[in-house]
């Protein structure tokens, strides 16, 4: 158990390319932090810097009270779950789990106890003597987590651990990871590009873009008050409509904004609505439908109940509180 602190952390590659710039983050003991962003935003690099698999060129990383910039991965007291699981293919599940403990000269009885305990928690007891290739994707995933659990580290690092699983299993494992982390109370950092996974797992989200932190906050804070236009467009599904203010200039309060953000679910269809939308396409989702169209030459998406009739022209209204206003150039939130 430990807190993790990143102060002004950055990384510049030997060629001069900047991968990570000036990240500040304080992670409390037992907190579940999710790093989320599109591919190439540096979230995995940042995680690997905390793990010690990538060098840190600026700032410092602390785990507990210790600055770990120059500490070997093995001595940082962290465990990592890799995207491809990275199970040792020539070892049985039991040996896979025990390997980290064996290297640390843990007594044999203690190793057996911890392996049995982890197998119990993850329900992989029946597979302990199999090789990884004889396991399904979900089982391998559990073994990878087991290997992290037996070490009883100060922190878990997850690098997109669910992205190789099919959609259904992914949702099930997501819940399991959340419950497991709450039960063990171990500080966790989790990297994903899936904003839904990020929202459901995180105590706090860190939204990254191009190696910079866009916003840090609880999932609801980030959803309700995105700090930048980038965050607004990235978090939430279907994505928030981001429209140049001139297209909806008649809405109250939008005079000084460059971009206006409206979530599709915040738009309601009423005859007296002051936004006119020309319908172009409809996507049926079952309980509701997504209607795509044009207003003032800009695309707009609305969610509506699937039993409501759709005409070619819809009139929409939105509450003032549901408008997110952003500056044009910087994308910063202004109201």
């Amino acid at each position: 158990m430990a807190s993790i602190t990143l102060s002004n952390v950055g990384k510049v590659y030997a060629g001069g390319t900047r991968a990570i710039g000036d990240v500040n983050l304080e992670i409390a003991d037992g907190e579940f932090i999710v790093l989320v962003g599109p591919s190439g935003c540096g979230k995995s690099t940042l995680l690997r810097m905390i793990a010690g698999l990538e060098s840190i060129t600026d700032g410092e990383v602390r785990i507990g009270d210790r600055v770990v910039n120059q500490v070997e991965p093995a001595d940082r007291d962290i465990a990592m779950v890799f995207q491809n699981y990275a199970l040792y293919p020539h070892m049985s599940v039991r040996q896979n789990l025990a390997y980290g403990l064996k290297n640390r000269r843990t007594p044999k009885a203690e190793i057996e106890r911890r392996v049995a305990e982890a197998a119990e928690i993850l329900q992989i007891g029946p597979y302990l003597d199999r090789k990884p290739r004889a396991l399904s994707g979900g089982q391998r995933q559990r073994v990878a987590m087991g290997r992290a659990i037996v070490r009883e580290p100060a922190a878990f690092l997850f690098d997109e651990p669910l992205s190789n699983l099919d959609a259904k299993l992914r949702v099930a494992m997501r819940l399991e990871i959340k419950q497991l982390q709450q039960r063990l109370g171990t500080t966790s950092i989790y990297v994903t590009h899936d904003q839904l996974e990020a929202m459901t797992l995180a105590d706090r989200l860190v939204v990254l873009s191009a190696g910079r932190v866009e916003q840090i906050g609880t999932p609801l804070e980030v959803y309700r008050r995105p700090a930048t236009a980038f965050v607004a467009g990235f978090i939430g599904s279907p994505a928030m409509n981001l429209i140049p203010a001139r297209a909806v200039g008649h809405l109250p309060g939008t005079a000084h904004a460059g971009l206006v953000g409206i979530r599709p679910e915040d738009l309601t269809i009423t005859p007296e609505g002051n936004i006119e939308m020309q319908v172009q396409a409809i996507e049926e989702l079952g309980a509701q439908r997504l209607v795509h169209g044009l207003t003032g030459g800009e695309t707009l998406t609305v969610t509506m109940p699937s039993d409501m009739p759709v005409s070619d022209m819809l009139r929409l209204s939105v509450r003032r509180e549901a408008l997110h206003l952003f500056e044009a150039e910087s994308g910063r939130r202004i109201g």
């Binding site: 698999l53 991965p73 040792y88 980290g100």
Partner: protein, 292 residues
């Protein structure tokens, strides 16, 4: 994969013909000739040829020279295989750890493979020549009197080095490819699991490299037993006192220098059987262990 179906029966055979012809003329036919000659005995001028059954084989089994050659071959093949594989694995690991200029080193290390065996033999013969070579001079400084023309051990060391040197490039390429196919995340996971570089190599890298190692072992043993004729011929010619007279060289020497065709053919048949048996044993028993 795309499958081509020929409606014409003749065309597929025509397309196969060149390869089949090469296999037949240069492999099957000589092999059959060897088997035929192994049960015959010819006089010195090739005028009289008699059928003698297994007499040639029986004579070999009772020949101290032949049994010595068998022993020399075992020592030679094992030494060449261990030396060339060990050294090339070392080089491959070093190159795999490099970040820059990997391709430069790889290219340079492949060059020895392009050198003809006889040239390689001559090269090492010059380097180790007791009169004009540079190595004996260096060894003399540390108090060792090198002479592969009189010392059996020196001669064996010379042919082992010359043969292994040529094979290092080949092994090196396969080891580099094998190392690169091991996912980096496995080594990273082991690093986080507290294994240092040496431990990681023996616990993770080496076991995962075992399919490559196994394949190369088969290739190297076959190389040492069959393809090293030119190296021996260019350096020691089997001497001194039969110390480097490996089976394949003895086949040549007894047949083409000694003109004992029957014995030479019988020896090549035995050699063929040994390599077939070795390969079969390796595939049957060793491969079971490398599959993970």
């Amino acid at each position: 994969m795309k499958r081509t179906i020929f409606s014409n029966q003749l065309l597929p055979w025509l397309l196969l013909a060149p390869q089949l012809a090469i296999t037949f003329i240069f492999f099957l036919w000589p092999a059959a000739q060897a088997i035929r000659h192994s049960v015959l005995r010819q006089d010195a001028f090739g005028i009289n040829t008699n059928f003698v059954g297994l007499a040639n084989f029986r004579a070999l089994m009772n020949s101290a020279q032949y049994l010595n050659s068998l022993q020399v071959t075992v020592v030679f093949a094992i030494s060449v295989t261990l030396l060339s594989m060990g050294f090339s694995l070392l080089l491959a690991v070093a190159v795999d750890r490099m970040i820059r200029s990997t391709s430069v080193y790889t290219t340079l290390l492949v060059w020895p493979y392009a050198v003809a065996p006889a040239v390689a033999g001559i090269l090492w013969w010059f380097i180790f020549n007791p009169t004009i070579g540079v190595m004996p001079y260096v060894l003399d400084v540390v108090g060792y009197n090198w002479n592969h023309m009189t010392s059996k051990t020196d001669a064996m060391i010379l042919v082992v080095i010359a043969s292994a040197w040529k094979q290092i490039s080949y092994n090196f390429l396969f080891f580099v490819a094998g190392l690169q196919s091991i996912p980096a995340s496995l080594r990273e996971a082991a690093a986080i699991d507290g294994a240092g570089p040496v431990r990681r190599f023996f616990d993770i890298t080496f076991p995962l490299l075992s399919p490559t190692t196994f394949f190369l072992m088969v290739v190297n043993i076959v190389y040492a037993m069959f393809d090293t004729f030119a190296v021996i011929d260019a350096t020691t010619e089997g001497g001194p006192a039969q110390a480097t007279n490996i089976l394949v060289y003895k086949v040549y020497f007894d047949g083409f220098v000694g003109q004992n065709m029957g014995s030479s053919a019988a020896q090549s048949v035995i050699l063929m059987l040994i390599v077939i048996a070795l390969t079969a044993i390796q595939f049957r028993y060793v491969e079971k262990k490398v599959a993970y």
